[in-house]
Amino acid sequence: MAAPDLEPRAADPGAALRATTFAAALNTALSDAMAAEPSVCVFGEDVGTLGGVFRITDGLARRFGEDRCFDTPLAESGIAGMAAGMAMNGMRPVVEMQFDAFAYPGLEQIFSHIAKFGNRTRGRVRIPLVVRIPYGGGVGGVEHHCDSSEAYYAHTPGLKIYTPATVADAYLMLREAVDSPDPVIFFEPKKLYWSKEPVDLEALRRQYEDGASDSGGPGGSGEAGADPDGVGAAGRAVVARAGTDVSLISYGPTVATALAAAESAAEDGVSAEVLDLRSLVPFDDAALTATVEKTGRAIVVAEAQGFASVAGEIVARIQERCFHSLASPVRRVTGFDIPYPSPKLEQHHLPDVDRVLDALDMLQWED
């Protein structure tokens, strides 16, 4: 994946930049969070000895011991429910669901308790945990291994939904998620795990920890005092590429698609702005409105099936808030409304550059 043109939270450009994978950034974020705060613990299926099937937790059990990073019996409701209990009693659990569809047995715990406990106790019992979910396709996975399930969680009040699209964000947003006083469902685009970008994790760590302590507590943004809403930096969308003619709105795995499409469009003289939402809940309406009001046209690009999806929500919000700026209907480029298809056919299902460009062509440029 290409590094975004605009990365406001990138590390000090003077620092030595090494090619770093998304997976390494997540791993380092967990490791740093555990080092910084003894109540952070990591558990799930195969996350201990094996280091996770994607190796995101590699080395954590060795470094922090089996009390801090451990395998559980194979039961996702158990994982989510035990995490909720540990969070009630002073811990900050970070749990891994092995694949998107395998988180479903935990949905009752997530919807009925993790999302609601803070509210039903009038704020007296907060559930500061992170549920990490590798999601999406593009990795040749067989059935049940490639769902994009963010809409289920995004529709559930009480959860925060983060999904990073860059290596730096993989680090910074996971740190923020761990420090958040609210439960965060952290969606990791699995097709990005082995993508590399030149990133100095050490510098990011300093940046994050200075920022977090500046703002006097967990969830603090990098800029001291710059977070009156308490959303943290992770709660803000980022313009990944500036443009003037059309806004490509995306998150997670499709930010790269949007950037590539913008690149292509530029060759045809169309200047596309790419917005990386980063957080689906809370939602950065200000950033969304700003880009659409600037360009007057928008395409939402997301992998999940489109019906009743987050992409649908974004379209709805754009037309609710920017109606009079729109020169053309907002278009969606999403997965089809079918079960995720097999490795041999996934390329026909996933939004790709051509499909974004097709949508772009239909934006009534003649008007």
Partner: protein, 419 residues
């Protein structure tokens, strides 16, 4: 007792690795490594001179100390046996339990009345199950935790939470009323069985910090059918955490009788499938309930391991005020159970023993009336609820979206007031 136990009922003792496994000296093939909990169980059963299976299976009959007429059952008929031994609690503890029982019954009846007066939206009564309610609260130490259900209000109050706070949610407010952290009592769970996993998590967190907190996790007979029951017991055994799973088997899940819920010899027989001990107790026998819960709590604490206790009891009233129990059980059955009322049984026992004299009895009944009266007064007042607060606790700090929505409602309310 340190010799090797040979299973005297002809079954094998659990295979326990004697030493931590060495990578150059692998264990016997054709068997798989067993959990440490198995070693703990082995050691525990050995200390009682019985096999692990004998330890984990419930005793031959449920533990019962008071006969239905309130007399003390001879020790050899109480159902106890080696490894299943339950000392009768001291008089003082029993008197305290009796007091809580009387207050609990009074609260149940008061709430029933409040529902009929429309002061409470709903109340799932534990009338008939108060011995379990009281036992649950009194068996715990101050630092222990309790995870109750919607039916366990009396247990929560016995634990020391203000009855008025407990009733807040049943009155129709949007939150649980009391501070779970301060009382170490979780907000009662409505989604069945889910709370057992939270209990395991609380115990696990405590264990990781080196605290010896015991967690009492409560559920009903119906709730044992949910997947979360299985996952919670399994997690507790694998992580060796001191959780006492306390099942109030009142014979029904709303209308569904136990026979449609389970085909097991008893619910306590499920314990061995997780590698923990199970026991059955007469849940209408205050003495036996307290005795078994106390020992379960102390075994759990001392050995850092979970146990399962099934109390056989009966819900004398309908599931809630919305339920019509005549549709699924006959009056005669209810009548039969009335003869085994937990309150009268222990009352007879304590009176005959001279522990409960007239003075004590009237002091206790006065206290019950006091509690009921203050509950009545509080519920008759209708404290204003600020509608705007529904946005304030969804997250630690409201999101921009919620601030927008809050502003909309505030505007509507303001306009409404102008009308």
């Amino acid at each position: 007792m340190d010799e090797e136990i040979t299973a005297d009922d002809g079954r094998r003792p659990a295979v326990v690795p004697e030493e931590p496994r060495q990578s150059d000296e692998p264990h016997e093939p054709l068997a798989h490594e067993k959990a440490e909990q198995a070693a703990r169980i082995e050691q525990t059963s050995r200390s009682f001179g019985i096999t692990p299976e004998q330890y984990m299976l419930p005793a031959a009959q449920q533990i019962r100390m008071l006969s239905p007429d309130g007399s003390l059952i001879p020790e050899e008929e109480q159902g106890t046996s080696a490894g299943h031994e339950y000392p009768v609690p001291e008089d003082e503890a029993l008197l305290a339990a009796y007091e809580a029982l009387v207050v609990g019954r009074r609260i149940n009846d008061q709430n029933y009345a409040l529902v009929r007066q429309g002061r409470l939206a709903v109340y799932p009564s534990s009338h008939g199950q108060e011995a379990c309610q009281v036992g649950a609260a009194l068996a715990l130490g101050a630092d222990d935790w309790m995870f109750p259900t919607y039916r366990d209000s009396v247990a929560i109050m016995t634990r020391g939470v203000d009855p008025v706070e407990v009733m807040v949610s049943f009155r129709g407010d949007w939150h649980c009323g009391f501070d779970p952290i301060a009382h170490r009592v979780s907000a009662p769970s409505t989604p069945l069985t889910t709370q057992l996993l939270h209990a395991v998590g609380v115990a696990h967190a405590a264990k990781l910090r080196g605290e010896d907190t015991v967690v009492l996790a409560m559920c009903g007979d119906g709730a044992t059918s949910e997947g979360d029951f299985h996952e919670a017991l399994n997690f507790a055994a694998v992580f060796e955490v001191p959780v006492v799973f306390f099942v109030q088997n009142n014979g029904y899940a709303i209308s569904v009788p136990l026979s449609h819920q389970s085909a097991a010899p008893s619910l306590a027989h499920k314990a061995i499938g997780y590698g923990m001990a199970g026991e059955q107790v007469d849940g209408n026998d205050m003495v036996a309930v307290l005795a078994t819960l106390r020992r379960a709590v102390s075994l759990a604490r001392e050995r850092s391991m979970p146990l399962l206790l099934e109390a056989t009891t009966y819900r004398m009233q309908a599931h809630t005020n919305a339920d019509d129990d005549t549709r699924y059980r006959d009056a005669h059955e209810v009548e039969l159970w009335r003869r085994h009322d937990p309150l009268t049984r222990v009352q007879t026992f304590l009176s005959s023993r001279g522990v409960l004299d007239d003075d004590a009895a009237s002091r206790i009944s006065d206290r019950a009336e006091e509690v009921a009266a203050s509950l009545r007064t509080a519920m008759t007042a209708d404290p204003p609820i600020d509608p705007l607060e529904i946005f304030d606790h969804v997250y630690a700090a409201p999101t921009a979206q919620l601030r927008e929505q809050r502003a909309q409602l505030a505007d509507e309310l303001a306009r409404g007031q102008e009308d």
